[in-house]
C-alpha cells in the first residue's frame, strides 16, 4: 500500500496538510494529509456519506478546514482558485432561467473584477471552447433544453475555457448515457498529462480508466495505487466487495453504493 506522503513532491498541484473538517461536532474529514503531483490524474472514491463531497468542497475553497492547510500550486487556496476548472455533477437550472449554452461557457472567464458583458475576444474564446468539444451547434440554445450529455459538455467547456491547470469533475457519469460517457472519457484521455485531473466518482468502472492512484475517502483519507483496489479493500471501503474491471474488459463492474455505517474505519487498520 502506498500511504500518502506529507506533500513530498517538489511542486504539488494540490497539497493537504493535516486537514480536518467537522460539521456540528461530527468529524467528516479527519487529518487528511496528501498531495497530488502536477499533471497527475487521480480519482476520489468512497461510500455515500463518507466525505467525498466535503473533501471536494474543501479543495474548491467552498468550505474552510477547521485545522490544517490546503495549497493549490503552492499558493494558499483563496489565491489559487482561479486556476481550478470545476465541472459539477449537474446544474439544476429552473427551465425559466433564460440563459444560452454560450453564456454558461462564458462564466468560466469570470473574475472578481469583471464588469460589463462578455467582450468580443471572450465570446470567441467561449465559442472555441465549445467547438473543441464538438458542441458549437448548441451554443445558442437555452441551456435548460439540452440533453444530459450536452449539458455536461457545456459545463466541461465552461471549466476549460479559462485554461485551468487543475480540473475537478464531480460524479461526471451520473446524468449521462453510455455514448456521452464514451465521449467524456476520450476527452479526458486527451486532457490527461496537460493538466492535473481530479475525478470524484462512485463509478469504479470509470475510475479504472487511465488513473494511477485513487483517493479513498471514508472520514479518513488514504491514497492507494489503482492496482490495490482489490475485493478486500473495496469490502472495507464500501461494505461490499466490488470487482474492478480495467478498460477494455467487459463492463461487469457494479457501482458501489454503501451506507457509511456499513463501511470500514481505515483508522482501525
Amino acid at each position: 500500500m502506498n500511504e500518502q506522503a506529507n506533500c513530498s513532491c517538489p511542486s504539488p498541484a494540490v497539497c493537504f496538510q493535516s486537514v480536518s473538517f467537522a460539521y456540528e461536532r461530527e468529524t467528516i474529514i479527519d487529518e487528511a494529509d496528501f498531495d497530488i503531483a502536477a499533471g497527475e490524474s487521480i480519482c476520489v472514491i468512497g461510500p455515500n456519506g463518507g466525505g467525498k463531497t466535503t473533501l471536494l468542497k474543501l479543495l474548491l475553497g467552498l468550505l474552510q478546514p477547521n485545522t490544517g492547510s490546503i495549497r493549490i500550486f503552492d499558493k494558499a487556496l483563496a489565491q489559487g482558485t482561479t486556476e481550478v476548472g470545476y465541472v459539477p455533477q449537474s446544474l439544476d437550472l429552473d427551465r425559466r432561467f433564460p440563459i444560452t449554452a454560450i453564456d454558461i461557457v462564458g462564466m468560466g472567464l469570470l473574475h472578481k473584477n469583471k464588469l460589463w458583458g462578455m467582450r468580443r475576444s471572450e465570446r470567441e474564446q467561449a465559442w472555441q471552447a465549445l467547438d473543441n468539444l464538438g458542441l458549437a451547434a448548441v451554443g445558442k440554445k437555452p441551456f435548460a433544453h439540452l440533453s444530459g450529455g450536452q449539458k455536461q459538455g457545456v459545463l466541461l467547456a465552461r471549466a476549460l475555457v479559462g485554461n485551468p491547470r487543475l480540473l475537478v469533475l464531480d460524479e461526471p457519469t451520473t446524468h449521462i448515457d453510455a455514448a456521452a460517457q464514451e465521449r467524456l472519457e476520450s476527452e479526458l484521455k486527451r486532457l490527461r498529462g496537460s493538466l492535473t485531473l481530479i475525478t470524484v466518482s462512485h463509478d469504479l468502472h470509470f475510475v479504472a480508466r487511465g488513473i494511477g492512484r485513487v483517493i479513498c475517502v471514508n472520514r479518513s483519507v488514504r491514497i492507494h495505487p489503482v492496482e490495490a483496489l482489490d475485493l478486500e479493500l473495496t469490502q472495507r471501503l464500501f461494505g461490499q466487495p466490488v470487482a474492478l474491471v480495467k478498460h477494455g474488459e467487459a463492463q461487469a463492474t457494479r457501482h458501489a453504493h454503501a451506507h457509511p455505517d456499513a463501511v470500514d474505519r481505515e483508522a482501525e487498520r
Binding site: 475553497g61 482558485t81 482561479t82 437550472l93 429552473d94 425559466r96 453564456d103 462564466m107 458583458g117
Partner: protein, 275 residues
C-alpha cells in the same frame, strides 16, 4: 383612447402625466431588479421587505408626533426598516438557509404589526390603507426626480455588474470558485431591491410594487432566451402595463392600482396558456 390622450394634454391633469412618468421611469428598476427577484426565486423576500416597511414608517410617524423628532421623516423610517429587513434576510439566507422561510414570515408580519401599533398611537397621522394600496395619481414632481435618480443608480450597478449578478443567480458555488465576492453581491442586490421597493411603495403601494416586480419578469422569462432579453421585455411590459392600466382606469373610472395589477395578471395567464 382619444379621451385619455386629451386628458394627458390637459394642463389641469398634471397628476395623470406624473403617474405615467413615474410608471415609465420606474419600469427600469422594476425590470432590472424584478428579473433578479424572479430568476433567484425570491419574490417572497421582496414581498416581506415591502411589508416590513410599515414598521419603519409607523415608528417614524410615532417619533415625529410623540417625541418631536421632526427630521425623522417616515421615508427615512421606511428606508431603515427595508434595509434592516434585507440585511437580516440576507444573513439568514447565507447562514441558516433551512430556516429562511420562517424568518421571512416573522419579518413580514412583525414589521406590519409594529407599524400598525405605532400608527395607532400617532392619531390622525397616517392611513395604513394608503400605504398598502397607494395611489399612483398622487405622485408629485419631486417624486419623479427621486425615482429617476434611483433608476439611474440601479441601472448603472446592474448593467456594470451583470456578469457577476448572473453568476450568483445561476450558480453561486461556481461564482465563489471563480473568486467572486458572492456574499457582498448577495447583500448589494438585496439592498438595491429594498431601495427600489421603498421609493416606489410610497407612490404605488405594496401590492402594486410586488405585482410590477414579479409579473412582468415572469412573463418575460417565458419569451426570452437570454437574461438581457428578459430584462428588456420586463421593462417594456412594465411601461405598457402602467400605460394600459392608467388608460383603462381612466376610461372605466376604476381605481388605477388594481386595474394595472389585473391587466398584468391577465397577460401573465394568457402567456401561460399560449406557451
Amino acid at each position: 383612447m382619444m379621451e385619455f390622450f386629451d386628458a394627458l394634454r390637459d394642463p389641469h391633469a398634471q397628476f395623470l402625466r406624473n403617474a405615467l412618468w413615474i410608471g415609465l421611469i420606474g419600469a427600469l428598476p422594476f425590470g432590472l431588479i424584478g428579473t433578479y427577484v424572479v430568476v433567484r426565486r425570491i419574490s417572497y423576500i421582496a414581498a416581506a421587505i415591502a411589508h416590513s416597511i410599515l414598521g419603519g414608517v409607523g415608528f417614524a410617524a410615532f417619533a415625529q408626533s410623540q417625541w418631536g423628532w421632526q427630521a425623522f421623516d417616515p421615508t427615512y423610517g421606511a428606508l431603515l426598516a427595508a434595509i434592516l429587513s434585507a440585511l437580516v434576510i440576507g444573513w439568514v439566507n447565507l447562514r441558516f438557509a433551512e430556516r429562511e422561510d420562517t424568518v421571512i414570515g416573522i419579518i413580514w408580519v412583525s414589521g406590519m404589526a409594529i407599524g400598525l401599533i405605532f400608527l395607532a398611537k400617532s392619531p390622525g397621522y397616517f392611513d395604513p390603507m394608503a400605504f398598502l394600496f397607494g395611489d399612483i395619481l398622487l405622485v408629485g414632481q419631486g417624486d419623479l426626480w427621486r425615482v429617476g435618480l434611483l433608476a439611474g443608480i440601479v441601472s448603472l450597478i446592474c448593467i456594470a455588474l451583470s456578469p457577476q449578478i448572473t453568476a450568483i443567480a445561476l450558480d453561486p458555488a461556481f461564482a465563489r470558485i471563480r473568486g467572486l465576492r458572492t456574499q457582498r453581491l448577495h447583500y448589494l442586490m438585496l439592498i438595491l431591491t429594498a431601495l427600489t421597493i421603498v421609493l416606489l411603495v410610497q407612490l404605488m403601494g405594496i401590492i402594486l410594487v410586488v405585482a410590477l416586480l414579479t409579473l412582468p419578469p415572469a412573463i418575460a422569462a417565458m419569451r426570452s432566451r437570454t437574461l438581457a432579453g428578459m430584462v428588456a421585455i420586463a421593462v417594456v411590459l412594465n411601461a405598457l402595463f402602467i400605460f394600459g392600466g392608467l388608460w383603462l382606469s381612466y376610461s372605466l373610472d376604476w381605481p388605477s392600482g388594481p386595474v394595472i395589477i389585473l391587466l398584468a395578471t391577465s397577460v401573465f395567464l394568457l402567456s401561460l396558456f399560449r406557451r
